[in-house]
C-alpha cells in the first residue's frame, strides 16, 4: 500500500473486554471505564466525518458486534449530543449491558466464566475479517487499526490462534493497539502490538493514570499522524512462546523443523504435522552444531531486537526423519 495521506480516512475496530469477573477485581469499575472509552470513541469520530468505527464486545463465552448492529438506536432521546456520536454511544452502552446480563442468570456458570479469560483471539479474527470485507467494498482503502481494551489475563489456550491473527494483521498492514487496564502485562498482546507496529500501553489506575488520557494520547493518532509523532517508549517485551502440547510459556523449547510447532519436551512424532523425528535428538546440553539461533520465537522477524528479554537460544529438533 502507498504512504498514508493526511486526507485518508481510517477504520477503527475496538475490541472491548467485557469480562465481568476480570473487571470486578479492578480498581476501575467497568461502567466508569466504559464511559471513558465512549468519550474516546466520540473523539475518534470527531476527527473526521469519514472515519468508520466498529466495536466488538468480548466475554469468556461470546464475541458480538456492538456498534454497527441491526438494532435501531432509539430516536432523539437526547438532543444535546451530536447525531453521529449518539448512535455509536447508545449501541455500545446497550450492547455491553446485554453482554453482561447474558452472563447473569446462571450463577454457577457465571462464576466459572468469571475465572476464564475473554475470547480475545476470536474477537481479533472477527475484527480482521470485518476489516478485509470493508476494504474489499471500498473503492479507496481506509487505513485500518484495531484497539484492544483488555482487562483479563492471557489464556495459554489462545496462543496459536492469536499468533495467526497477529501475522494476518501484519500482512494486511493493520495496526493493533493494546490498552491493558489492569492486571499483569499481557505477553501475547505485547507481541501483537510490537509485531504489527501498534502501541502497547498499560494503564496503572492505582498510580493515578487516567485511561481516557492514555487512550487519547497513544491510541487516537491515525496512520498518517503516527508517521510524525514518536511512539511511546516501550518497555522490554517478553517474546517467549507457548508450547503447543501443554500450553505453557517456555524459555527453552523444541521446534519441529517442518512445521515450526513448539514443544516443551521431546517427542518422537510431531503432533501437528505428524512428522517422525529420528531419535538422535539434540538436547539443550548436547553438542549443538546445527542451529545456535533456535527458531523458538516462531518466524517473527523482529525477535532479534533489543527488546527481547529471553534471548536464550533454544534447542531445535534439528535432525529428523522424513520417512
Amino acid at each position: 500500500m502507498a504512504e498514508p495521506l493526511e486526507s485518508d480516512s481510517s477504520l477503527l475496530v475496538v475490541v472491548l473486554d467485557a469480562n465481568v469477573g476480570a473487571w470486578a477485581r479492578s480498581p476501575l469499575a467497568l461502567d466508569k471505564a466504559l464511559q471513558q472509552v465512549v468519550i474516546f470513541l466520540n473523539a475518534y469520530l470527531a476527527l473526521n466525518t469519514e472515519n468508520r468505527l466498529v466495536v466488538l464486545g468480548a466475554t469468556a463465552r461470546e464475541c458480538r458486534f456492538l456498534h454497527p448492529s441491526s438494532s435501531r438506536a432509539p430516536e432523539a432521546a437526547d438532543i444535546q449530543v451530536y447525531e453521529q456520536f449518539r448512535a455509536a454511544d447508545v449501541r455500545v452502552l446497550a450492547g455491553v449491558a446485554a453482554l453482561v446480563d447474558g452472563a447473569g442468570p446462571d450463577q454457577a456458570q457465571a462464576q466459572a466464566q468469571a475465572q476464564a479469560p475473554s475470547l480475545i483471539s476470536r474477537a481479533l479474527s472477527m475484527a480482521l475479517c470485518h476489516i478485509s470485507r470493508v476494504n474489499a467494498l471500498l473503492t479507496n482503502k481506509a487505513w485500518a487499526r484495531v484497539l484492544v481494551v483488555s482487562a483479563g489475563a492471557d489464556s495459554a489456550r489462545e496462543y496459536i490462534s492469536l499468533m495467526n491473527s497477529i501475522f494476518a494483521a501484519q500482512k494486511a498492514s493493520v495496526l493493533i493497539d493494546v490498552c491493558k487496564v489492569l492486571g499483569a502485562d499481557s505477553v501475547f498482546l505485547q507481541q501483537a502490538a510490537d509485531i504489527t507496529g501498534g502501541n502497547y500501553v498499560r494503564v496503572d489506575v492505582d498510580a493515578g493514570e487516567s485511561l481516557l488520557q492514555t487512550l487519547m494520547f497513544t491510541c487516537l493518532p491515525d496512520h498518517y499522524t503516527r508517521g510524525i509523532l514518536n511512539a511511546p517508549y516501550n518497555q522490554l517485551i517478553d517474546f517467549r512462546a507457548t508450547c503447543f502440547c501443554h500450553k505453557r510459556v517456555v524459555d527453552i523449547g523444541y521446534v519441529c523443523s517442518v512445521c515450526l510447532s513448539i514443544f516443551c519436551r521431546t517427542a518422537p512424532v510431531c503432533s501437528t504435522c505428524h512428522t517422525k523425528f529420528s531419535f538422535r535428538i539434540v538436547g539443550p546440553g548436547a553438542r549443538d552444531g546445527s542451529s545456535p539461533n533456535g527458531t523458538q520465537n516462531t518466524n517473527n522477524p523482529q525477535n532479534g531486537s533489543q527488546s527481547s528479554t529471553t534471548g536464550t537460544p533454544s534447542a531445535a529438533m534439528s535432525s529428523l526423519n522424513l520417512g
Binding site: N48, I79, E83, L220, T225, G227, I228
Partner: protein, 482 residues
C-alpha cells in the same frame, strides 16, 4: 487526490483566517457553543487535531519542549508551526513555556464529546409529524436545483432555461443572493445587467464544497456590513454544519437574526424550508457535508446520499479526454456545457453528447480570464467518466503537460521597472559600473560589447550614489594634482 484537495484546503484556510482575525472577545463567544467548537476542531489539520485531543483531558499545561519531543526530529518544525497556528486561532494559550487549551474551548469541546452543556446546541428536532415528501434524495435534488440555478445565473443563462436539470423551474434569484454574488466580486454590474467576473469563472470550476465556503464567508462579510452580530451568524452556521441530513429541525428557539439568515440560506439551497410551514427546516447535504475532509469516499454511509448525489451534476463523471486533446462530454446540461466552453472549442452537439477540442487558443482564453491550468486539470479529473477514473493517472499525461506548458508560455514576459544606461564616455566607466552592479546583484541585462546596461530601480539609486562619489573623488584628486 492531493490535487483535488487543493482548492478546498484553500477555503478552509480562508475560514481559519477569518477566525484568526476575530478579536478575543468574539472568539470567546464563538467558543461558547459545543457545536461551534466541534466544527472548528474538524477544520483543523490532522496534527492540530491530535495535539488538541492530547491536551483535552489534561488540566495542567504541557511544556512546549515536551510537546515537540513527541514528534520525530525531522517533523518538529512542522509541529511547532501547527502550535503557532492553533495559538493564532486562540485555541491554545502559550505562557511561560507551557501550552494549554483555551479553557472555554476545552470545556465546550468536552461538552461536545460527552453531550453536556448548552441545551440544543446541535439543533432542536421538530416534534411534529413527518413530511413524507421530504427524503434525503429529495433534499439532495432540491439543493442541487437551487445551487445550479445560481451557477446558471452566473454563466448568463436564465434559470428557467434549465428545464433539463430540474423539472420545476427554479424561482428567480433573490436579492440577497445577488448581493452576495456582487459583494464577493463573482459578478459585477447593476441590477439587470450583472456580468460574471474573472473570479466568477474560477468559482465555477471549483467543487461544490469550496463554492459553499466562499458563499458563507461572503455572507459573514455581508452580515458585518449590515451590522448583524457576527458571532451569532457564525454560531448558527456551525450549528447548521453539525445537523443531521434528512431530519426536520424546529425554528422555535431561533432568534430573529437566525430566522433571517435561515431564509437567506434557503435561497442558496443550503437549507430547505416550506413556505407554508415556517416552524421547521431541513439542512441539505450542501451544508452538512462541509466539514468532511474528502468527498471521495466509496460506500455511502447510512442516511447519507450516495456520492453521485453530492457532486454538483446528476451524473457522476461525464468527460472523456483523449490523448489528442479531443473531449467527449456526455451531458445535456447547459450549465456544464457553459463551464466546458470556458476552456475548450466546441465541435458538435448531440442529444446527450458534446464533442470538442482543447486547443492552445481555447486554453489561453481561459488563462486570460484568470483560470489556472491546475483548475482546468482538477475539473477534468473530478468529472472524468468512470471508465477514465479507473486509469492511473486519470487524465492523459500528454494533455495535462500541454495545458501546463500553455500556461507557462504566458509567463515569458515579466515587466520590471528598470533603468537603461548607454553611451558611456569611457569604456573604464562602463567596466566600473558593470562590476559594481554585478556585485550588488541588480543587473537585469547587459551587453559588454556595446557598453549597455539595464539595472533595476533599486540598483539605479545605488549606482547614482557610486557615480557621485566617484566624481567627487576625482574632482578632489584633480584639485590636488593642480
Amino acid at each position: 487526490m492531493a490535487v483535488q484537495m487543493g482548492s478546498e484546503e484553500e477555503f478552509k484556510t480562508t475560514i481559519a483566517e477569518y477566525l484568526e482575525s476575530l478579536p478575543t472577545q468574539f472568539c470567546r463567544r464563538v467558543f461558547s457553543s459545543p457545536a461551534a467548537c466541534l466544527a472548528i476542531f474538524r477544520l483543523l489539520s490532522t496534527v492540530g487535531k491530535q495535539l488538541i485531543m492530547s491536551m483535552l483531558y489534561l488540566d495542567a499545561g504541557l511544556r512546549t519542549q515536551d510537546v515537540l519531543q513527541c514528534a520525530k526530529t525531522e517533523q518538529q518544525r512542522m509541529v511547532k508551526a501547527k502550535i503557532a497556528q492553533l495559538r493564532r486561532l486562540q485555541l491554545v494559550v502559550e505562557e511561560r513555556g507551557c501550552v494549554s487549551l483555551n479553557p472555554i474551548f476545552r470545556e465546550q469541546l468536552r461538552n461536545a464529546l460527552t453531550g453536556g452543556g448548552d441545551f440544543g446546541s446541535f439543533g432542536i428536532p421538530y416534534a411534529g409529524p413527518r413530511d413524507k415528501r421530504v427524503t434525503t434524495a429529495w433534499l439532495a435534488r432540491h439543493a442541487r436545483e437551487r445551487w445550479e440555478a445560481i451557477l446558471h445565473f452566473m454563466v448568463g443563462r436564465s434559470a428557467t432555461g434549465a428545464a433539463t436539470v430540474g423539472e420545476a423551474p427554479a424561482a428567480p434569484l433573490s436579492r440577497s443572493v445577488r448581493d452576495i454574488l456582487r459583494m464577493s466580486r463573482l459578478m459585477e454590474g447593476g441590477e439587470g445587467g450583472m456580468t460574471i467576473t474573472n473570479s466568477g469563472f474560477q468559482f465555477l470550476l471549483q467543487d461544490a464544497a469550496s463554492q459553499v465556503w466562499t458563499v458563507l464567508l461572503q455572507y459573514l462579510r455581508l452580515a458585518e456590513a449590515q451590522d448583524m452580530d457576527v458571532v451569532e451568524v457564525l454560531n448558527f452556521m456551525f450549528q447548521l454544519v453539525g445537523l443531521k441530513l434528512g431530519r426536520a429541525y424546529s425554528t422555535e428557539a431561533l432568534t430573529p437574526h437566525q430566522r433571517k439568515m435561515l431564509s437567506e440560506l434557503r435561497d442558496f439551497g443550503l437549507v430547505y424550508q416550506d413556505e407554508h410551514d415556517p416552524h421547521r427546516f431541513y439542512p441539505t447535504h450542501l451544508i452538512t457535508s462541509l466539514t468532511s475532509g474528502t468527498r471521495s469516499s466509496g460506500a455511502a454511509r447510512d442516511g447519507a446520499p450516495a456520492q453521485s448525489e453530492l457532486t454538483l451534476s446528476s451524473d457522476r463523471g461525464y468527460i472523456i479526454l483523449e490523448t489528442n486533446c479531443r473531449v467527449y462530454a456526455y451531458t445535456d446540461s447547459p450549465l456544464q456545457i457553459a463551464i466546458l466552453n470556458l476552456f475548450m472549442d466546441m465541435a458538435s452537439r448531440f442529444a446527450n453528447l458534446i464533442t470538442g477540442m482543447i486547443t492552445r487558443t481555447s486554453v489561453r482564453r481561459a488563462l486570460l480570464r484568470g483560470i489556472t491550468a491546475d483548475q482546468i486539470i482538477t475539473f477534468l479529473c473530478t468529472n472524468a467518466h468512470p471508465q477514465m477514473q479507473v486509469r492511473v493517472p486519470v487524465l492523459p499525461v500528454t494533455v495535462t503537460d500541454q495545458i501546463r506548458l500553455w500556461e507557462r508560455e504566458r509567463d515569458r514576459l515579466r515587466p520590471t521597472n528598470a533603468h537603461f544606461y548607454k553611451d558611456f564616455a569611457q569604456p573604464q566607466e562602463f567596466e566600473r559600473m558593470f562590476r559594481y552592479a554585478q556585485e550588488i546583484g541588480v543587473i537585469l541585462w547587459a551587453n559588454t560589447e556595446k557598453h549597455q546596461l539595464v539595472v533595476t530601480r533599486q540598483g539605479h539609486a545605488k549606482i547614482v550614489e557610486l557615480v557621485k562619489n566617484h566624481r567627487a573623488l576625482r574632482l578632489r584628486f584633480s584639485c590636488r594634482q593642480r
